[in-house]
């Protein structure tokens, strides 16, 4: 292979190195596994999205004319379960993280390629359970599975759904384990911790949450299954148990889990902002450590979900203060990104548009989170649409915006093709407008007192619900268009060079798409991260994809 000719080396990449279904299903190449995840995760996103369509259609009118209450309960439950466990949690780590982590640190693969493939199969097995529940009649507990409703009264497939989430958890544990070992032991020579891209820091912090938090939800769901299936009771008062214990155990994972969903997105934004401002991120060390701080403090705030669940007021106060503290590292990131853009010449390419969307929407989501972390105000807002709006601002406006930014940013690297510029900007704009129209009215609805999880509501709430449903259709279009042009670009997109954006990461120094072994020669790192050399800046200047000519003031 060393003697292969130069021309042959250029054409061989991970996509055409081998062919046939078997070469994909048994692959140990992290890049191919990332593609497997991309396909599966997208399928679940469509399923979860269809559930959202049903919800918004039903809520367009005050009466329950499309779905009866029982079906509505099942629809919003499946929306939550699918979107959280099968889309948001694996989305960025398992697709972009899998693809990029070894490339970014100059490694040939993750530390454990077979475990990586196993994680995909575990994910698919969990997915099979989820799809089985969906087809055979669903479950109506909400994605939170609160006891004793879930263990005693619910008439859906609780055990099956819990099993789906339980199995899926092991997939994310395996991914987290792989990432941690990879970052510790697979870095290229010269690549010290403080030369790592911020994307890698974010994924390292995420992995810590995955390996420490996920087993707790696993054991909680295990106890839930024992109680529901075998009547070995832990939480139901009928067996002497306490349902609040379930809530503690559940949120001990599920609050940190929102950081599993948002931290990787923040990693994407750091890369995108730096690249499209052609500047080293302002306060690199602060951004890196804020990821770690979020991972640590994220474990200490779960009690803010239990203000109205008989938790003591003193415990509530402590959890409230800690929840305010966890806002600090998130704010540090936002301020640092803004400072990076300050006086830079910002190129408004599609990934950057999504990144700007992320910054605005995540800020709204984060600040409204503080409303909910305030004990007194939360009593008014608990279980209203305010919570729904807050959560979607963080998860859809934050996590999915970051995911879309990342997919657009690294699409040329993953496929070797550019997507159509105009359409992608239209889609980014539609997503932003549609998103705000969908979810901002829900803040108002929640503040007015509309409870969540009901399929009927008083007529005075209709205006805002119609706005929300209208926004949802625009948002849907914003997701549909990329689905079409990204597939189109696989065949018809312009060929992307190794580094179409003028970015500095190691992943941009190898071919697009990369060869199976990632690098022809193991790279040796001699500079800090984000060194925008004159050559890179000159390349940006002459690049046809740029939208502005003023690229030269670099701080």
């Amino acid at each position: 292979m060393i003697t292969a000719t130069a021309t042959k080396k250029e054409t061989k990449n991970y996509l055409n190195a081998e062919s046939g279904l078997k070469s994909w299903l048994l692959t140990q190449d992290h890049k191919r596994i990332a593609i497997l995840y991309l396909i599966a995760v997208t399928a679940f996103f469509i399923v979860g999205g269809l559930m959202a369509v049903l919800i918004r259609l039903e809520l367009a009118t005050p009466a329950g004319d499309l779905l009866d209450s029982n079906t509505y309960n099942k629809v919003f439950t499946m929306h939550g379960v699918v979107m959280i466990f099968f889309f948001l949690i694996p989305s960025i780590p398992a697709i972009l993280g899998n693809f990029l982590l070894p490339l970014m640190i100059g490694a040939k693969d993750l530390a454990f390629p077979r475990i990586n493939l196993l994680s995909w199969y575990v994910y698919m097995l969990g997915g099979c359970f989820g799809v089985f529940v969906l087809i055979t009649g669903g479950v109506d507990t909400g994605w939170t599975f609160y006891t004793p409703f879930s263990t005693t009264y619910s008439n859906g497939y609780v055990v099956m759904t819990a099993m789906a989430a339980f199995i899926n958890g092991f997939s994310s544990i395996l991914t987290g384990l792989n990432f941690i070992v990879t970052v510790h032991r697979m870095r290229a020579p010269g690549l010290t911790w403080f030369r790592l891209p911020l994307f890698v820091w974010a994924h390292y912090a995420t992995s810590v949450i995955m390996i420490l938090g996920t087993p707790v939800i696993a054991v909680t769901l295990f106890l839930l299954m024992l109680e529901r299936g075998l009547h070995i009771g832990f939480f139901d008062p009928a067996y002497g148990g306490d349902p609040v214990l379930f809530q503690h155990l559940f949120w001990f994972y599920s609050h940190p889990a929102v950081y599993i969903m948002i931290l990787p997105s923040m990693g994407v934004i750091s890369e995108v902002v730096s690249t499209f401002c052609s500047k080293k991120p302002f306060g690199y060390t602060f951004i890196a450590f804020s990821s770690v701080a979020i991972a640590v403090f994220g474990f200490l705030v779960w009690g803010h979900h239990l203000y109205v669940s008989s938790q003591s007021a003193y415990a509530g106060m402590v959890f409230s203060i800690l929840s305010y503290i966890v806002a600090i590292p998130s704010a540090i990131k936002i301020f640092n990104w803004a400072a990076t853009m300050f006086k830079g010449s910002v190129r408004l390419e599609t990934p950057m548009l999504y990144a700007l969307g992320f910054m605005g929407l995540f800020t709204v989501g984060g600040l409204t989170g503080l409303f909910l972390a305030a004990m007194g105000l939360d009593v008014h807002l608990t279980d209203t649409y305010f919570v729904v709006a807050h959560f979607h601002y963080v998860m859809v406006g934050g996590a999915i915006m970051g995911y879309m930014a990342g997919i657009h940013f690294w699409w040329p690297k993953m496929t070797g093709r550019m997507y159509p510029e105009v359409w992608s900007k239209v889609a980014a704009g539609l997503t932003f407008i549609g998103f705000n129209l969908t979810f901002f009215p829900q803040f108002i609805l929640g503040y007015m007192g509309m409870p969540r999880r009901y399929h009927v509501y008083p007529p005075e709430f209709q205006v805002f619900n119609v706005l929300s449903s209208a926004g949802a259709s625009i948002l849907g279009l914003g997701y549909l268009i990329p689905g079409i042009y990204l597939i189109w670009s696989l065949k018809y997109g312009k060929l992307a060079g190794p580094n179409p954006w003028g970015a500095t990461g190691l992943e941009w120094q190898t071919a697009s798409p990369p060869p199976t072994e990632n690098f022809e020669i193991t790279p040796v790192v001699t500079t800090e991260a984000y060194e925008y050399t004159p050559q890179i800046l000159a390349m940006i200047d002459s690049s046809p994809t740029q939208t502005t000519k003023e690229v030269t003031h670099v701080g």
């Binding site: 292969a4 993750l110 792989n178 070992v181 032991r185 707790v216 909680t220 070995i232 832990f234 002497g240």
Partner: protein, 239 residues
């Protein structure tokens, strides 16, 4: 890792695994044997951290309920069989010893001794599982399994004693499932050791399995006093 050879592999476009005499296989994406071994070891410790949190959730539930219902827990605990529990504890500690000896035999390259100690570990582990199965059966006969037919004769605060037994079965069941998985891995390792797959230079799987086995033992070291010994010195006494 001073004792490792510096087997650096920088060939461009290198695919597939390669073997070094006595070192097992260095997989293609590692630069050296030392890096591979390091990665596996860290991976195992990270996995054990995960396991710690996995059991941790149940220990948390145990501590909360025992704090709330000390009398129910004390009286239900007396229904466990102290002698079988103590016997099993001894058996497991012995199996940890044989496992440690197995790792030592592997590191000194004594193949038959390695096979022997692994078999001893498997026998002790199976003995533990056998006794556990007998205890479960005994609980079944006496209706001490929580659920529809549950009863706790002569228990204080009987309404909350089923929590104790729910945790008893949850915790020991989870522990036993780890033992069962361990036993199957042991079978594979015994076969591989017999076939001479390991050498004094390379025995990483034995070493890593040793970590796993000791971890499972340590969990039991905590479970035994928490489940069997709550009130043995009090009015219940030893019986």
């Amino acid at each position: 890792m001073a004792n490792e050879p510096a087997v650096a592999l920088h060939e461009a476009g290198h695919t597939g695994a390669h073997a070094h005499p006595g070192y097992g296989e260095v997989r293609h994406h590692f630069e050296s044997y030392a890096q591979q071994k390091d990665a596996s070891t860290i991976g195992m410790w990270v996995f054990l951290l995960t396991e710690l949190m996995f059991f941790g959730g149940m220990f948390m539930a145990y501590f909360v309920y025992r704090q709330w219902y000390p009398d129910a827990f004390a009286s239900a605990s007396l229904k466990t069989n102290l002698w079988l529990g103590a016997f099993n504890t001894t058996v497991l500690i012995c199996s940890s010893l044989t496992m440690a000896m197995a790792v030592h035999s592997a590191s000194t390259g004594k193949r038959l001794l390695l096979v022997g100690f692994l078999i001893a570990t498997l026998v002790l582990g199976s003995a533990f599982l056998g006794v556990k199965a007998y205890e479960y059966h005994d609980k079944w006969v006496h209706h001490e399994i929580p659920g529809e037919h549950y009863e706790c004769e002569g228990c204080v605060d009987a309404g909350h004693t089923s929590l104790f037994f729910a945790l008893y079965f949850g915790m020991t069941g989870l522990h036993a499932s780890h033992m069962i998985i361990g036993a199957f891995i042991l079978l594979v390792l015994i076969w591989q050791s017999y076939k001479g797959k390991f050498s004094a230079k390379w025995y990483t799987p034995i070493e890593l399995f040793g970590l796993y086995w000791h971890f499972v033992d340590i969990v039991w070291i905590f479970l035994f006093p928490l489940l069997y010994l709550i009130d043995r010195s009090g009015k219940g006494g030893i019986h």
